[in-house]
């Protein structure tokens, strides 16, 4: 049986990874700049190839928001190139000494950041992810295998070609970047199971893509994304902060993972705060899925508000609407809020609003999420906002990386031990 495209590319990537590990940061950064230049120089070709995908997607009846994410134009290509240039300016993680000491026997130990080796990314029909993933892998000295959505196949192949050639001209080794070209679905599964060749697989996209990956992968995976985030309003919340934060966390960008999907409020504070929250958010076209107490409160509000408050079902507490919808529930106290969040949250980002020292202390200690906030909007969960630089994604697992992942998440470490003839006693 002939080796498959995926297996061959996996083996080539492993060889490329060894060569990449020897390339210094100056060369890697220069390649990023050349890649940015090449995208601009070849934009006519890229837009023409992308147009084939867009036309086919339209003919297949693809929904307009997906077409929009798929489409490339001159402005978008400029944005993608600019992101590569910014990446070139970032601190180089490779070679950083993360710890070091002289052992009791005189051996000098240093622990040094090294590339992971071969990084595979699986994503949907978003051509910008192609350049973003290629750039992040190169910045961290990793060989890269891309598997983009089949709807964007021509866009991905053409963009990979342009980036690859620019990298080669800048001195990168053969096969430093590869994309899987067959649209056969079994190739995706094969990539997920390339044990010994792929050091980490990162799915980037919808919840269903991520779940399929976790379910089928045999290589190490970093799970990203899903955010059923909570805003808990404690009875001692500063009233001044409630509306600005609720509005920001729910409505600034409802489709992103760090937007809130659920509001909890202390029962004894619901009478005074819930009406103003409902007014502020329904004014911004938010639909509520409310528990009984909140639903009842809503009945005494003006019809235009009350009509936007539905009765919640058990299902609502676990939902990530990614839209102008939010569940709204009363809790007895901080303890019940923590319990509810730990049970229903996707452990992404959850916030408390309170001026009570002990309630805040307990919440940040006991809520088991990647980012736990006191008195701020959950919208800050982001690599750039956290000062981590370029972001790979937001990990919702606990192993290797948790929360916003900066470049360090695409590295491993090794121990270097320098002796003078020591043997173990």
């Amino acid at each position: 049986m002939a080796a498959s495209e995926v297996l061959i590319k996996g083996q080539q990537a492993q060889v490329a990874a060894r060569a990449l590990a020897k390339i210094d940061a100056t060369t890697r950064n220069k390649a990023l700049l050349k890649m940015a230049d090449a995208l601009l120089a070849e934009q006519e070709y890229l837009i023409a190839e992308n147009a084939i995908d867009v036309k086919a997607a339209r003919a297949a009846g693809t929904a307009e928001p997906l077409i929009d994410r798929l489409m490339l134009d001159s402005g978008r290509i400029e944005g993608i190139a600019e992101a590569l240039r910014t990446l070139a300016q970032e601190r180089d993680p490779i070679g950083t000494v993360t710890e070091g000491r002289t052992l009791y026997n005189g051996i000098r130990l240093t622990r040094v950041r090294v590339p992971l080796g071969v990084v595979a990314m699986i994503y949907e029909a978003r051509p910008n992810v192609t350049a973003d993933a290629a750039g992040l892998c190169l910045k961290t000295g990793n060989a890269c295998i891309l598997r983009g959505g089949s709807l964007a196949n021509n866009s991905n192949i053409s963009m990979t070609n342009v980036l690859y050639k620019a990298g080669i001209k800048a001195g990168l080794p053969e096969h430093w970047l590869q994309s899987i070209e067959t649209t056969d679905r079994s190739a995706t599964t094969e990539l997920m199971q390339l044990v010994g060749l792929v050091d980490v697989l990162i799915p980037r996209g919808s919840a269903s893509l991520i779940r399929t990956t976790v379910e089928n992968a045999k290589v190490p995976v970093i799970e990203t994304g899903e955010g059923n985030c909570h805003l808990y309003i404690h009875k001692d919340a500063d009233p001044e902060t409630i509306l600005p934060i609720a509005i920001n966390a729910k409505t600034q960008r409802p489709g992103v993972c760090n937007a809130i999907e659920s509001i909890l409020i202390d029962k004894e504070a619901a009478g005074s705060f819930a009406p103003m929250i409902i007014k502020a958010l329904t004014d911004r076209n938010v639909i509520f899925h409310a528990d009984e107490t909140i639903f009842e409160i809503a009945q005494s509000l003006p019809e235009e508000q009350a009509s936007k408050v539905k009765q919640a079902t058990e299902d609502d507490w676990g939902r990530e609407y990614l839209d102008l919808e939010v569940s709204f529930k009363c809790v007895k106290d901080v303890e019940e809020a923590i319990e509810h969040i730990n049970a229903y949250s996707t452990h992404h980002s959850d916030a408390i609003l309170s001026q009570d020292y002990s309630a805040v202390a307990r919440f940040v200690q006991e809520v088991d999420s990647a980012a736990v906030y006191a008195n701020a909007s959950t919208r800050f969960t982001d690599g750039g906002e956290f000062g981590l630089g370029a972001e790979i994604g937001i990990s919702t697992q606990k192993l290797h990386a948790r929360g916003p992942m900066g470049l360090d998440a695409l590295t491993s470490t090794k121990f270097i031990l320098e002796g003078s003839g020591q043997v173990r006693g």
Copy 2:
């Protein structure tokens, strides 16, 4: 269908993990001491239950070394208890702030070590691992599910009982420690696939156990163990260091993962160094699997040495003998040595002996292994030797932890963000 033992225990462990996360280090350390006391107090019961396993294993014709690993006696129980006492004295990793800063908008960000949650361990018929695993998980605030080898089932159940009760008396929450009691093999697979309940699974034992786990697990795994380690003797090696290090790395404990399995030597140095290496190691009953050049050199040595030098096959370069056997091969130079090691090593521990600055620099930079040595024995790869304290195992994967894993490897982190009403612009 009734829920299985594994599913029920997984769910109970998740509840226990939340409770454990609130327990302070004083209570956890006190529990470790109580567990040590309980093992000593109950040693008659433990030895009697163990005797049932030993008898059954003997009746089933189990090999004597396995019986030896299975057997408990008073001295061994004292050793196990002592290990728990030592663990109680170690630094507490939970709550350590690993980074922190004030963001541009005034939000104070701290990143804090937290338990992983639920840790599952799969291991073979070694009762000492039961206490060791329970202790390490407790020290790091994790709920623990144990799956020991079925040969040791009575030993595991009795030891888990004794440890569990001692922990409960010391104030630990219900189900902080559980072992899977059914000897049904499908329970092991079920445990490996308990997605959403098990935060990390660590197989401890033979290469085949680890491979089966990696192949079947759907929960995150930390791969440990296999060590095809190399000693590369460069032409400019200090002759004084060659024999002590070769003898130590090969013969001090040939059955452990950081012992060498392969010696490489520069071809131009083989004539002068190979005969003394062969003499020193055959004197210690080591069998060589040699390439052509070394085999030829051996033919001119005394019969008692030459007879212990066999011709190697391709297969030998990848073998982990775990015994008094070693492969021995000539290479052209440091470049070929690095290539050979990167191709055949299990990326555990590999060493160069050389006084040449550039050869050493290149070797430690380019050899892609968890621990890379210059002029010292590979036998030092160990959490204690590296100053990491108690060791969970030695990771041969690149994600999350690489090389000897200290207590930190059983932790994750979370970001805590303390604001005063900030919203994202």
